[in-house]
């Protein structure tokens, strides 16, 4: 059946901000879907609140709305655009939920909009656990046995029919709190009682534990003619008990016989048929008992997902693209398989001749109060994928691509005899998995644990354990034999197992360069194979490549003018989708200028690793060894290292030393801006002002420095992104503590101490320079004061309060810096302004996190402009001269993952914790701020009791805030000192105890839901610890809270707009004409 002619325009809902469990893979999928629909000639309308996405670029759809994803704003869009259909399957759970809301509110029916891609019924059956379970039973498939209990007796009765271990899940508690796994009756009684008590509805789900069962995911695509294909079967190395997003996974499945694989295939297809997904892709998850082969259906997602993105990258089959085409009427056999140049149809099952390994990336270190044990709730913030011709090779490439300080199976427990403490640690790490379980597995095998023991503790399939064992044995043998043993054949066989030069160097206690020279002298070099979805059965022109150590190289580099762009590797807090956005823009701009573009990256979630974005894609780890190998093969005329964040930037100097032709700002300027001492010299030379600062290397030096700088201080290690380990320090004792912690870190770096500027306004400036001119891209004024990491602050473009004179001063200073540093391309500068004094905080001669936001706010694609500058097209040639300040306001606002990290303190500080961002446009700052706030999903109360508890320095501001709240009809309650301040300002305010002052105290009020809004600021380590329970409980009870007075005040001004705002396509905002 061909394309549907009865549809003319289609509305697509994006996934909104990046959060844990819903990341940049939805930009990848959404972008594919938009391209697929537009090439069919449909008028496509998109709504997505996330500005750092390729899908929201002006050329991606006919109309783009960067507006909150909630039914009210989408209803407005539908009213304006009158689409014929709505495609909700490309934007994750967010889009599905929004679509269901639109159905429920009758919006779709009223406007005559058809839901395509998934019906309401299918979404319902898939999402509703009870209905899903029933549906599975009806088709003879098994689901884990479970039932709800409302009394302790009920719970016991259910349990007796299930056996141990039993999972207990209290209903409606956040993040599964109060739940657990019981291995015996005593544990069950304890957990069930606690769960019944903690559940607000007094209800617990008692469920069979599938802990230790093998876990598989099948990516299924089905069309309206009922043709079904399995695109990929993914096997989880971490068995059931760890969320699949937190698990190490491989494709193809490696521990299934054909009989079992086909049984899963049959069941997966049966699930789609039953649920009623008839035009698109779905993911079905199964658990298999390792000893009996018994199968349980765990769940299914009737939409593209993180797994479908991984499956697409793993096989070369673009699931989202195909799903979009199926949604508008095509059948699979009518579509071509693009990667083989259309030689074969899309109605086939990809087969692969390599192994793909995915390893999740975690950021637990940013939430030290939260447990880092992996559970059924996802906490990974990113992932790395690697391709190799064997599991060992693929696995080891992934280990080093993860960029978590490993270049292989590095030891977590030092060599030598293990004591009882180490044994216990090993046992715990294996039994209760954390983010580094497989490294501990290697350690256990190194220290003589048997495979059976490790298998018993981890339930990891012995096949994988055996593979790890072999790697460990290779390492031990090599260590014993020494470098003399590294004859060419041996070296080649080690490289075939995926060992990096640097890991071999560590094992042999030599320099990485020594291994590299030896390797090159031995003629041991990688070849590159193509990903083609068909194991070589059909020829392909698509250059989607990975390295391996074999005979034939299929790379066939061209003789064209070419530029290589290094991507950002796995997403993590501080280095996320914004950098991939910049990389994609570099590719697009240079491709348009006629260059061949070569992308190197290892992040499967991104647009940049879609094989048709760049001319050539090398899916490789971003290490010096792997990148140099590609450079040597391709011989590009330029390499861009400034776009992918800190990952490629760290390679700048070594790449330059190895003779790589880096484009843009010289590597030395990057070093000059990153090296604190060199930078100080530069600041002095230019006559600029920095907050007084010192670099210290010991606690002793820190004490001395603190005396001259004075408190408060901002402390941080050098060379970090995302404010890793940054803290504001108010007292000598805190400084002592900080230094002790800093020194404990391996490869301890010097610590930078800055005078902390209290009550200063922070400003970000993004520019492009070409050596002749400086184009000011945008000046962003932060809402939160300096000291909150810039990535965690809301900001406004144009500045909301910054006076024009100061803006001019900033522009002058930035221009001076750009000229002195010889910037060719992007630069970001951060300032703090205290009492009209401008302090230079940081200079980054590279792409910054704010580039996509600035580009969306101003309509100027900064990353593209800068990429062309780097390739030699000046700003004048591009026609860019003046910075035109937009007439509208744009506000960027971060979103945080605190809800996922039980116990983590949601207070903001110099260490970045947000995972993503949203954007709001408005005719005023207030409107833009209101829309951004709505887009983050925060619900604003309109009456009730506001709790205020602020540090002394914030009290004057708090009074203004409190007045505003009273004007809006709120009643006030405050802790002692705040209450006194408010009362003395004439405000009526109740007083409540702090926690240490005795009960009833502030947290009691919150738990009793007597509070509608919380404003809580605090300073100093002790005070922060003391007030943590307030903020945690606010998260638990889903109460709107602010940890900065400025943000609360901004919200107050925006309040009116949260109920009453107008949506406009970005085209209207950018053209300045929003005529309805």
């Amino acid at each position: 059946m061909p394309r549907r002619e009865d549809l003319e325009s289609i509305l697509v809902i994006g996934a909104g901000p990046i959060v844990i469990g819903q990341a940049s893979e939805f930009d990848y999928s959404g972008t594919q879907a938009l391209k697929a629909l537009r090439e069919e000639g449909y008028r496509v309308i998109l709504v997505n609140s996330n500005p750092a996405t390729i899908m929201t670029d002006p050329e991606m759809a006919d109309e783009i709305y960067i507006e909150p994803i909630q039914w009210q704003s989408i209803a407005q869009i539908i009213e304006r655009e009158r689409p014929d259909a709505l495609l909700p399957t490309m934007g994750g759970q967010t889009a599905l939920n929004a679509a269901l809301d639109l159905v429920r509110e009758g919006v779709l029916e009223q406007a005559g909009v058809e839901l395509i891609g998934a019906s309401r019924e299918a979404i319902d059956v898939a999402e509703d656990r009870e209905r899903f379970k029933r549906a599975m039973t009806e088709i003879g498939l098994n689901t884990p046995h479970s039932a709800l209990a409302h009394t302790f007796e009920e719970a016991l009765a259910i349990q007796s029919g299930i056996g141990f271990p039993t999972v207990i899940r209290p209903s409606f508690t956040l993040g599964g709190s109060g739940g657990g796994i019981a291995y015996n009756r005593a544990e069950f009684i304890a957990i069930a009682e606690r769960g019944l008590d903690l559940s607000p509805t007094g209800e617990i789900l008692v469920e069979t534990s599938l802990l230790g069962w093998k876990e598989f995911e099948l990516e299924v695509v089905r069309d309206r003619a009922d043709n079904c294909i399995i695109v990929c079967t993914i096997e989880n190395v971490d068995p059931m008990g760890v969320h699949t997003g937190d698990s190490v996974t491989v494709a193809p499945a490696l521990t299934l016989t054909d009989k079992e694989a086909q049984r899963l295939r049959d069941q997966a297809i049966a699930v789609l048929r039953k649920v009623g997904v008839d035009t698109g892709g779905s993911n079905v998850q199964f658990a298999i008992h390792p000893k009996s082969g018994e199968i349980m259906v765990i769940e299914m997602n009737p939409r593209v997902s993180r797994s479908s993105a991984l499956a697409s990258k793993a096989t070369g089959f673009p699931i989202a693209r195909v799903a979009a085409k199926l949604a508008v009427g095509y059948t699979l056999d009518e579509l071509r398989n693009e990667i083989t140049g259309g030689r074969t149809p899309a109605s086939f099952e990809p087969t692969i001749d390599y192994v793909v390994t995915k390893i999740p990336r975690f950021n637990f270190e940013k939430f030290p109060e939260a447990s880092d044990r992996l559970t059924t709730q996802m906490r990974a913030v990113g992932e790395v994928m690697a391709i190799g011709r064997s599991f060992a090779e693929s696995f080891q490439k992934a280990l080093r691509g993860l960029e978590a300080g490993f270049d292989g199976l590095n030891e977590r427990i030092p060599a030598g005899p293990v004591g009882p403490d180490d044994r216990e640690r090993l046992e715990n790490e294996m039994r209760f998995p954390g983010p580094e379980r497989l490294w501990y597995v290697a350690d256990a095998l190194r220290h003589g644990w048997s495979l059976a023991e490790v298998a018993a503790l981890t339930a990891i399939d012995p096949w994988f354990l055996d593979q790890i064992q072999r790697l460990v044995e290779e390492e031990e043998t090599l260590r014993r034999e020494g470098i003399e043993a590294l004859v060419p054949t041996r070296l080649r066989s080690l490289k075939r197992l995926g060992f990096s030069d640097s890991r071999l160097a560590t094992l042999l206690r030599v320099d990485e360069s020594a291994i590299r020279s030896l390797r090159l002298a031995s003629g041991v070099k990688p070849v590159y194979k193509r990903v083609d979805s068909c194991a070589g059965e059909f020829p392909t022109e698509t250059a989607y490549l990975y390295s391996t150590y074999e005979e034939e190289c299929e790379a066939r580099p061209s003789a064209r003018r070419k530029v290589m762009i290094l991507g950002g590797g796995p997403n993590r807090i501080g280095q996320g989708i914004e950098f991939d956005y910049c990389c994609v823009h570099a590719v697009q701009a240079l491709r348009a200028d006629g260059f061949e573009t070569i992308m190197v990256n290892c992040n499967p979630e991104t647009v940049s690793t879609d094989y048709d974005v760049a001319d050539r894609l090398y899916f490789e780890p971003l290490t010096l060894e792997d990148v140099l190998a590609v450079i040597e093969l391709e011989r590009p005329e330029g390499v861009i290292v400034q776009y992918g964040g800190q990952t490629p930037l760290k390679l700048a100097v070594p790449l330059a030393l190895a003779g790589a032709p880096l484009l843009g700002t010289p590597a030395d300027s990057i070093d000059l801006s990153e090296d604190r001492e060199r930078f100080q010299g530069l600041v002095a030379e230019l006559g600029l002002t920095q907050p007084p600062n010192r670099t210290v290397r010991s606690a002793q030096e820190a004490r001395v420095a603190a005396e001259s700088l004075g408190f408060p201080l901002l402390a941080r290690p050098s060379y970090v992104l995302g404010g890793r380990a940054m803290e504001v320090i108010f007292k000598p004792a805190e400084l002592e503590e900080y230094m002790v912690r800093a020194e404990r870190v391996p490869q301890a770096m010097p610590v930078l101490l800055d005078r902390y500027l209290d009550h200063a306004t922070e400003v970000d400036v993004d520019i492009v320079a070409d050596g002749e001119r400086v184009l000011i891209g945008g000046i962003m004024e932060h809402v939160e004061q300096a000291g909150v990491h810039s990535g965690d602050s809301a900001c406004s473009l144009p500045p909301n309060e910054l006076v024009p004179d100061l803006q001019k001063t900033l522009e002058k200073q930035v221009t001076l810096l750009a000229e002195r540093l010889g910037v060719r391309g992007l630069m970001n500068v951060q300032f703090a302004i205290q009492d009209d004094e401008v302090y230079l905080i940081e200079v980054n001669p590279r792409a910054s996190r704010t580039v996509p936001f600035v580009s969306k706010a101003t309509g100027r694609p900064l990353a593209k402009i800068a990429a062309r500058v780097m390739a030699g097209v000046s700003l004048a040639q591009q026609g860019y001269r003046e910075c035109a300040t937009p007439r509208h306001y744009a506000v960027k606002m971060p979103v945080f993952p605190f809800i996922k990290f039980q116990g983590a303190d949601p207070i903001l500080g110099p260490e970045m914790k947000s995972t993503g961002e949203v954007m709001g446009y408005g005719e005023s700052f207030a409107e833009a701020y209101a829309k951004a706030q709505l887009a983050t999903g925060v619900m604003l109360p309109f009456s009730g009791v506001a709790l205020i508890s602020v540090r002394d320095a914030d009290k004057p501001q708090a009074i203004i805030l409190a007045r505003g709240l009273v004007d809006r009809g709120f009643r006030l309650v405050a802790t002692r000192h705040t209450a006194e301040a408010l009362r003395s300002a004439g405000l009526d305010c109740a007083m409540v105890n702090k926690v240490r002052e005795g009960r009833p105290h502030v947290v009691d009020l919150i738990i009793n839901r007597e509070i509608a809004l919380i404003v809580n600021t605090t300073q100093g380590r002790e005070a922060i610890l003391e007030s943590r329970s307030i903020r945690r409980e606010a998260i638990h009870q889903k109460i709107t809270y602010y940890t900065s007075v400025e943000a609360a005040r901004a919200m107050l001004t925006a309040w009116g707009h949260t109920q009453d705002f107008k949506v406009h396509p970005i085209r209207d905002w950018l053209s300045g004409g929003k005529g309805n």
Binding site: A225, D226, N227, I229, T233, P252, A253, L254, T255, L256, T257, D258, K259, E260, A261, Q262, R263, R265, D266, Q267, P290, K291, S292, G293, T331, L332, D333, T344, P345, S347, F348, E349, P350, T351, I352, D353, Y354, V355, R389, S390, F391, D461, P462, W463, D466, R470, K529, C534, A535, G536, E537, F538, P539, E550, E551, E552, E554
Partner: protein, 397 residues
């Protein structure tokens, strides 16, 4: 350390690797199979008789081997070529490791080969003969291996059925032992003891198992069995010509037997080689393909419904569609290369399918063809009993 091994192709290309299982020398046509799972089924599929099979899947041997997954006790694949051979087996179903299995079955295998290079080579130049040499001195013998490869007779023109067929007629009673395997069959169509005679040209056991699952009574007979020997003694309700190795055009006896069955209007089902024999018996021609179809991901279009089946395939010859006789109707086509995949006779109850409805290894999408065969037999027996009833009535009057 494993012994070295090498693979030489007739065109002189040589691949070095390591020996898995036993030392020795094996020659044959080299073909590649792209299935991700099912190495054991492939190793025991008699259609691979005399061939050296390259598996493109990256790891082989992971799940060991077991008795239930054998597709035949007859000689099958001569040699196996792979990238990574798993030293351990990990599966609740595993009984012996792959290496041991290879030894028992007398299969010579080579691992650590750049199988992707080899596959691309075969794809571009076509299937060709090769030689695996495995043993301590294998690498010293490039020239010998190439010579051996060049000495292999071409597959075209070879009738290989007598090497793989059963010696004597025998009943087959075993059904599917793996839960879920027969799930794809239509539960409504039950064979109720319909008797199917299976001509064994190297039959895969799963064909027999699925026939039993549909409720049929099954008898296997040697490839050389003549119609006259059977028609009265066994009184089959249907005849199935199985898969198997070799060039169908060379199998003149088998073609003649197929013709005889068709002339008797006994419902006929040809699978793979059997499908080609049906075509030849109906007056069509077959041709040798460049590198054939060997895999488990082949899309086949059912022409009547427009439905796409993902099928298991293993054939180096194909029915030529260019001048098909009028009594043969195409029913299925490959969406990979448009080649003919299924036929039915207009005049007699006969169907043929080029792929493997019994899968094993591979997807179950085409399993409905067994139901189709069943319905042909049911219609036939109903007709026969009507004829007999009316005949009886006439006799009385």
């Amino acid at each position: 350390m494993a012994d070295p091994a090498l693979l030489a192709l007739a065109d002189g290309t040589v691949f070095e690797g390591v020996s898995i299982g036993r030392a020795g020398i094996r020659t044959g046509e080299v073909v590649f199979n792209t299935a991700l799972t099912g190495y054991q089924e492939i190793l025991t599929d008699p259609s691979y008789y005399g061939q050296l099979v390259v598996l493109t899947t990256p790891h082989v041997g992971n799940v060991g081997t077991n008795a239930a997954d054998c597709e035949s006790a007859a000689p099958a694949t001569a040699g196996l070529i792979m990238r990574n051979a798993s030293p351990v087996a990990s599966s609740w179903r595993s009984e012996i490791t792959l290496a041991r299995f290879l030894e028992i079955r007398g299969i010579v295998a080579i691992a650590e080969v750049d199988t992707r290079k080899l596959t691309r080579h075969l794809r571009d130049r076509g299937a060709q003969n090769g030689c695996i040499l495995a043993g301590p001195d294998a690498l010293q013998d490039h020239e010998r291996a190439i010579r051996e490869a060049r000495g292999v007779p071409a597959m075209a023109g070879c009738d290989l059925s007598e090497n793989v067929s059963v010696a004597e007629q025998a009943p087959w009673v075993e059904g599917s032992s793996f839960p879920g395997e027969a799930r794809a069959l239509d539960k409504r169509s039950r064979g109720n003891g319909l008797h199917v005679v299976v001509y064994d040209f190297g039959v895969k056991r799963n064909i027999l198992r699925l026939l039993v699952e549909t409720g049929c009574r099954v008898t296997t007979v040697p490839a050389s069995t003549r119609v006259e020997q059977l028609v009265d003694s066994l009184r089959p309700d249907g005849v199935l010509f199985s898969n198997g190795p070799g060039d169908p055009e060379a199998m003149t006896d088998a073609i003649a037997q197929a013709q005889a069955w068709l002339d008797r209007r006994v419902p006929f089902f040809g699978i793979c080689l059997g499908h080609q024999l049906l075509a030849l018996a109906s007056g069509a021609r077959t041709r040798k393909m460049k590198f054939g179809h060997h895999g488990a991901n082949h899309p086949v279009l059912e022409l009547a419904t427009g439905r796409v089946w993902i099928t298991s395939q293993n054939h180096g010859f194909a029915v030529d569609e260019t001048d098909l006789p009028a009594n043969l109707v195409p029913t299925h086509r490959s969406l990979f290369d448009g080649s003919l995949q299924g036929i039915e006779r207009m005049d007699v109850p006969a169907l043929g399918f080029q792929g493997h409805p019994e899968a094993s290894p591979g997807p179950h999408d085409a399993a409905g063809l067994f139901d189709r065969f069943l319905r042909l037999m049911q219609a036939h027996t109903a007709q026969r009993s009507r004829n007999m009833d009316s005949g009886a009535f006439r006799a009385e009057t």
